[in-house]
Subunit: 269 residues, 2 copies
Amino acid sequence: MHLKRLLIAFIALPLAYFYITKLPAGYFLFLLIAVSVAAQYEFYSMYKVKALLKYTGIVFGVFIILAFSLQPSLLSLKPFDLFAVLFIIMASIRLFLKRSPESSLLDIATTVTAVVYIPLLLGYQIYLRNQGYEWIIFLYGCVWASDSLAYYAGKGLGRKKLYEEISPNKTVAGAVGSIAGGAAGAVILKTVFIASMALPLSKGIILGIIIGAVTIIGDLVESMFKRDAGVKDSSNIFPGHGGLLDKLDGALFAGPVLYWVSIFLGLIQ
Amino acid sequence: MHLKRLLIAFIALPLAYFYITKLPAGYFLFLLIAVSVAAQYEFYSMYKVKALLKYTGIVFGVFIILAFSLQPSLLSLKPFDLFAVLFIIMASIRLFLKRSPESSLLDIATTVTAVVYIPLLLGYQIYLRNQGYEWIIFLYGCVWASDSLAYYAGKGLGRKKLYEEISPNKTVAGAVGSIAGGAAGAVILKTVFIASMALPLSKGIILGIIIGAVTIIGDLVESMFKRDAGVKDSSNIFPGHGGLLDKLDGALFAGPVLYWVSIFLGLIQ
C-alpha cells in the first residue's frame, strides 16, 4: 500500500503542478469544476443522499463555481439568487420525493450546505488563480507542507491528543507541526518554486502560518463529517490515499482564508 | 379562541398596513429584521438547536437582510463571502461545542440552511419594497387571499386530500381555492387598495395566480418541517394563530418568486 501511495504521489503531483502552472486559467476553472463535482458526489454518497437531491446539488455546485468566474454578473442574477433558487428547488423536490416529513430538514439542509462546503469554498481558488497560478501553488504547497509536518511531528513527538473523539491519531505536537509546516512551506515555495511571485517573504510566512492553522480546522471538520456519516475514508478513488475530500479538506478552508487575509494585507485586490 | 383570533386580526392587520404604507422604506427594513430574528429563533427552537449556533445564525441573518438593503457592496464583501464565513464559523463552533461527531452535519446544516430559508428568502421583500410599498401590500394581500380561499374551499368543497402525510386538512379543492384566491386578491387589491400601482390588471392576475400556487408549496414545506421537528405550531406568539413561521410560510416562497416573475414580465428592473 505504501508503494502504491508513493507511486500515485509521484505521478499525480507533477502532473497537477504542470497542469496548473503551464495551462491558461480556463483549464484551472475546468479542473476545479471536475473536482467540485467529484467531491460533492463523494460527500452525498457518504451521507446516502437520494439521487435527485444529489444531482441537483451537483448541478448547482457547477453554477456556483461559474459564478466566481463570471463575476460580477452571471446571466444578470443577483448574488443571492442562486441560494434562494437552490433552497426553493431542494425543498420542493424533497416535498414530493418522499411522502414522509421525517428527516426532511436533514435531507434539504445536507444538499444546501454541501453546496456551500464544497463548490462555494472551492470557488475562492478561482479568485486566487486570477491573481496568478503562483497563488494556487502557494495554497496547495503550504497545505501539503502543513499536513506532512503534522504527520511526522505527530508520530515522532508528543503523546497529548488534540481531539481524540474525532481524530484519534492527531496530537497537539502534530498541530504545532502543521503551523510550522505552513511557515516552512511558504519559505521553500517562495525561495525555490515560485520566487517570481509578488509576495514579500515576511508576509509569505504570516500566510503560511495562517494556512497551517486553518488546515487543522478544515481537516478536523472533514473528519467530524466522516465519523458522523460512519465512514473511514470519504471514498477510495486514490488507493492508499482515501478519497478526494480527504485530500481537499485543508485547502477547502485555507483557500477562502488565504484570499481574505491577502486582501487584508494588501497583497491582492 | 375564535374571538381572540379575530381580535388579533383586527388590531394587527390595520397596524401592519399603516406601518408599511405610511412610513419610509427604512422602517420596513427594521420590521423585516425583527421578523427575521423572531422567525429564525422560532425555527431553531423547533429543532432544539444549541444556543451558540442559534445566535450565530440569527446574527448572520441580520447581515443577510442588510446585504439586500446595502447592495451592491456591504463593507466591500463579495457576494458569497457571507455564506463562506457562515459555514466556516458554524463548522468551527460545532467542532468545539460538542465533543462528539454525531449529527454534526445536521447541527451545522440546520443553521446554514435556516439562514437561507428565512432571512435570505425574506430579503427579497427589500427589493420589492424598493419598488414601492404597493408591492409589499400586493404580496401579502395575495398570499392572505390565497390562504383564506384555500381554507374555505377546502372546508366546503372536496374530500380528496392534497398531501395527507404532511397536512391532513388540505384538499385538492383547497389548492384550487388558493390559486383562485391569489387571482381574486390581485383584482381586489389592484382595483381598491393600491389602484395607483403601475401594474396592468392582466399581469396582476398572472402574478396573483403564481402567488396562489407558490403559497401552497411554501405552506407545505413549513408543515413538513413542523412535522419533522414534531411540533404542531411553530410557536404560540399569536394565540389562536400559531407561530410567526405559520404566518410567514407562504410569503417566504412567494416573495422571491414574485420578484423574479415581475422582472421577467418587465414590471420592475
